[in-house]
């Protein structure tokens, strides 16, 4: 049980504080991905592709493609940020920078290191989602999208919890990949396919994909965000997402800890 409650211990939050300080030291470069990527996506998919698609049918409603894709971009940014931070960021700190080993010589234990990584990834992906939202607000001002921005406040805690679950998944790969080059396996076989076929950039209405939809937390995040921002049904998806996130955390965090204690401590 202390493996899960360690999320609330001071050591985990000091680890988060360390990651945040490093991040803020490099803010001018680390700010680019969250601000630049959604702008790129909006230009490519929204304006570019949207020029051909113009509008599509979402739950029986005619929705401009730009408006449809905007919540998907928030969900995708959350997913990618949490996964990549817990894959590459954590691996570099564990393997190359020996940051973990340094932390473990203090009152910080491995469970705090792991929760520090998870909470930091979730915090980062929530702030990325917020930056994407600011970009979208700019688009709204230009009349490119029509979203209900009041609902974004509700989305923030959901994104945070989902980010924790995605990071716990990312750490599982960090615990098992032999070298950083092997990260390509989970990234190309699981992460990118899941990112594409979870209703982020196009509707997933094909009934053959129903089982995939049901088990993809990213699908529920994208559809839940869409429901909130476009004024559609959201509670079902958000409920499913939170339940999945809870199960992922309860299962994955102890598993991460077991695998990482073998890898980091040698036992």
């Amino acid at each position: 049980m202390h493996r899960l409650t360690a999320a609330f211990e001071w050591q985990s939050w000091e680890v988060v504080g360390r990651h945040a300080r490093v991040y803020l030291r490099h803010w001018h470069t680390s700010f680019l991905p969250p601000a630049g990527e959604p702008v790129m996506m909006l230009l490519a998919f929204g304006l570019g592709l949207g020029g051909y698609v113009t509008s599509l049918d979402w739950r029986g409603r005619d929705v401009p493609y730009m408006t449809f894709v905007a919540p998907g971009i928030i969900a995708y940014a959350c997913f990618m940020t949490a996964i990549f931070q817990s894959l590459y960021g954590a691996f570099i700190r564990m393997h190359y920078q020996k940051t973990w080993e340094g932390q473990l010589t203090t009152q910080v234990e491995l469970r705090h290191v792991v929760w520090g990584e998870i909470l930091w990834a979730a915090l980062l992906c929530t702030s990325y989602a917020a930056i994407v939202a600011v970009v979208l607000a700019g688009c709204q001002a230009l009349g490119l999208v029509a979203l209900d921005f009041g609902a974004l406040v509700l989305l923030a805690p959901v994104v945070f919890v989902a980010g924790c679950a995605f990071a716990a998944l990312g750490l599982l790969f960090t615990a098992v990949v032999p070298t950083i080059d092997h990260m390509n396996l989970p990234v190309f076989l699981l992460v990118l396919p899941l990112g594409i076929v979870s209703g982020t950039y196009f509707p997933l209405e094909d009934p053959r994909l129903a089982p995939l939809r049901a088990v993809s937390p990213l699908y529920h995040l994208a559809e839940g965000a869409r429901g909130l921002l476009l004024g559609g049904p959201a509670a079902g998806h958000l409920g499913a997402l939170l339940a999945m996130a809870a199960v992922m955390l309860v299962v994955l965090v102890p598993l991460d800890l077991r695998l990482l204690s073998r890898r980091v401590l040698g036992e």
Binding site: W10, V22, H26, E101, T105, T106, Q107, V108
Partner: protein, 303 residues
């Protein structure tokens, strides 16, 4: 009373028993040197003592209190300098000291002043604003030790503190260790350097294959395990006779080094040796810990 006492420490890693019933003790103001060939279990023992690994069996007492296998309870009082540099390359030297202090509760007091004091003492002040990777090897090590002290621990662990340093930097670290001991800090260090162990340690615990094979002052350890004298004989015609003489007295095989045999002997054995080989050319010198390592590396101790 000892600040740190461990009894019967056992640890298996990867199905192999790396530490097999180790006892040791270190008092405040004393340096305990943990010696042994590669793979003897030094680092694993140290890692159990500072809470990186949990012992499979055994007890650890700190200040007379049994920590019950959970070293986390006393980590506030421990300073740890690992073999690898683990400072944060994203922060300056001074920020590294500030950051380390954040990982302790109750929070260390006057962290800024403490960091300045340590940098001053370790000669790091001119580098306060530098990135650690720009420092020389000796100064990186000083930063690692300073960082382990920022929260004013009572016991310091140094895992091979001078490995890879040039002689001048090694001696600078020795001076620091001497000064810290004089202030009443207990220090447990591992080392491969025999001169370092002899020079720094008040007591030595010698490990081989996960067990303690000797314990005591550097001099008594040598006397117990080896004898005080080492006879150095050029390899040659008398090889068979010398080996036969040693075997007949149960003294084991001599260590071969660059065409010479190094034969550790007690005073009475030396006298017998001189009588047995009156015509042999040889040299007699005092035993060092190097001889001990050679003997340990060759096999089980007979001493």
């Amino acid at each position: 009373m000892s600040l740190l006492e461990a009894h019967g420490l056992v640890k298996s890693l990867g199905g192999r028993r790396v530490v097999d019933g180790v006892d040791l003790a270190c008092a405040a103001g004393h340096v305990l040197g943990l010696l042994g060939p590669n793979g003897a279990g030094k680092t694993t023992t140290l890692r159990m003592l500072y809470g990186f690994l949990r012992p499979d069996a055994g007890t650890i007492r700190f200040d007379g209190i049994d920590v019950g296998g959970d070293v986390g309870r006393i980590k506030r009082h421990l300073g740890v300098c690992t073999q690898d540099d683990t400072f944060d390359g994203d922060f300056t030297v001074e920020q590294n000291l500030h950051m380390a202090a954040r990982y302790f509760r109750p929070r260390p007091s006057d962290v800024r002043a403490r960091a300045r004091e340590l940098m001053d003492r370790f000669g790091l002040l001119p580098h306060a604003g530098a990135r650690p990777e720009t420092l020389s090897g000796g100064f990186k090590r000083r930063l690692m030790i300073a960082r382990a002290l920022v929260h004013r621990p009572r016991l310091l662990f140094l895992d091979e503190p001078t490995t890879g340093l040039d002689p001048q930097a090694r001696m600078a670290v020795w001076d620091l260790v001497d000064g810290l001991r004089a202030e009443g800090l207990g220090i447990v260090l591992t080392t491969h350097y025999m001169d370092e162990a002899e020079r720094l340690s008040d007591a030595l615990t010698v490990l081989a294959q996960g067990r303690v094979v000797a314990h005591g002052t550097p001099k008594s350890v040598l006397g117990d395990l080896l004898g005080e004298h080492v006879v150095v004989v050029d390899a040659g015609a008398e090889d068979g006779a010398v080996a036969g003489w040693l075997a007949s007295r149960g003294l084991g095989a001599p260590a071969g080094v660059l065409g010479q045999w190094h034969v550790p002997l007690r005073a009475d054995d030396l006298a017998d040796f001189a009588r047995a080989f009156p015509g042999l050319r040889y040299e007699v010198r005092a035993a060092t810990l190097d001889d001990l390592f050679l003997k340990l590396a060759l096999g089980p101790c007979t001493g």
